[in-house]
């Protein structure tokens, strides 16, 4: 049984944020395509957002790759809950 918690817990939190980001982005784009007018401004905004979002996601994962996620945040192996008894 694993008795340590690594800082990868922050990474998993970030993955949840990315999931939220992608879901909301999808709903926004769906609405703009489904209900927006066929205009230059609307098409431009959708394309710009997709490009910007893709660039930013790639950038964030590049930044996160510089971190050693195996670093131990909490070490539970030394603590014995029954030691005081």
């Amino acid at each position: 049984m694993a008795t340590t918690i690594t800082i990868a817990i922050f990474y998993y939190f970030f993955l949840l944020v990315v999931l939220f980001f992608m879901l909301y982005s999808f709903f926004n784009i769906y609405h703009l395509i489904r209900f927006g007018f066929l205009s230059f401004a609307n098409v431009l905004v959708v394309i710009l957002y997709v490009a910007l979002a893709t660039f930013f996601i790639i950038f964030t994962f590049n930044q996160l790759a510089t971190v050693d996620w195996n670093y131990i945040l909490v070490d539970l192996s030394d603590t014995n809950p029954w030691s005081g008894l």
């Binding site: 922050f10 990474y11 980001f21 982005s25 609405h31 395509i33 066929l38 609307n42 930013f56």
Partner: protein, 183 residues
């Protein structure tokens, strides 16, 4: 995407007179708001650096702050896009027969309703506030004859001009209706 000239349940001879959206300044205010939010972490960083505090971050605090900052920008980006979508998809269309109200109230709440011009009882235009007055934008309130809730064109450019156009179209619609009844 919808063609600009397409009208839901179009009547014979019905044409689009004008599509209305919020004034550009409303979009600009949204833009400024999110730019300010984006600058907050940068300003905090600059302030902390200028106080010459020892910022030798450990692996844990670096990872935590990195995830926090990136999450902040991702969430802010998607909220900014949602704000744009909601404002952009609010469209009020004046046709030769009716007013079509298309409002996006949040991502999962879209309202489409219409009101025949002949049913309009009262049109009121309102410019309130400093920027609204100098940039000529405001609300147009439309009260219908029935029990139906009145329409509000929110923060549209030239509200007085729009009110006049609606009144003209209303007069024309009433004349046409009277002419049809007499035939």
């Amino acid at each position: 995407m919808i063609n600009k000239n397409s009208i839901p349940n179009q009547r014979l001879g019905e044409e689009v007179v004008i599509h209305l959206r919020r004034h550009w300044f409303i979009f600009f205010k949204l833009f400024l708001f999110f730019v300010t939010l984006a600058l907050i972490p940068v300003i905090i960083l600059l302030v902390v650096q200028s106080t010459s505090l020892n910022l030798s971050l450990g692996e844990i605090s670096y990872a935590f702050l990195l995830v926090l900052a990136l999450s902040y920008y991702l969430v802010m980006m998607v909220f900014a896009f949602t704000a744009w979508t909601e404002a952009y998809l609010d469209v009020w269309t004046l046709t030769t027969y009716r007013i079509i109200n298309r409002e996006q109230n949040g991502l999962f709440n879209r309202v489409v309703s219409d009101l025949y011009l002949s049913k309009i009882q009262d049109v009121t235009a309102q410019q309130r506030g400093f920027f609204a007055t100098i940039l000529h934008y405001g609300d147009v309130h439309i009260q219908s004859a029935g029990a139906q809730e009145r329409f509000v064109f929110e923060q549209v450019p030239q509200p007085y001009k729009i009110a006049k156009i609606i009144q003209k179209l209303n007069d024309q619609a009433k004349k046409d209706e009277a002419a049809n009844q007499s035939v």
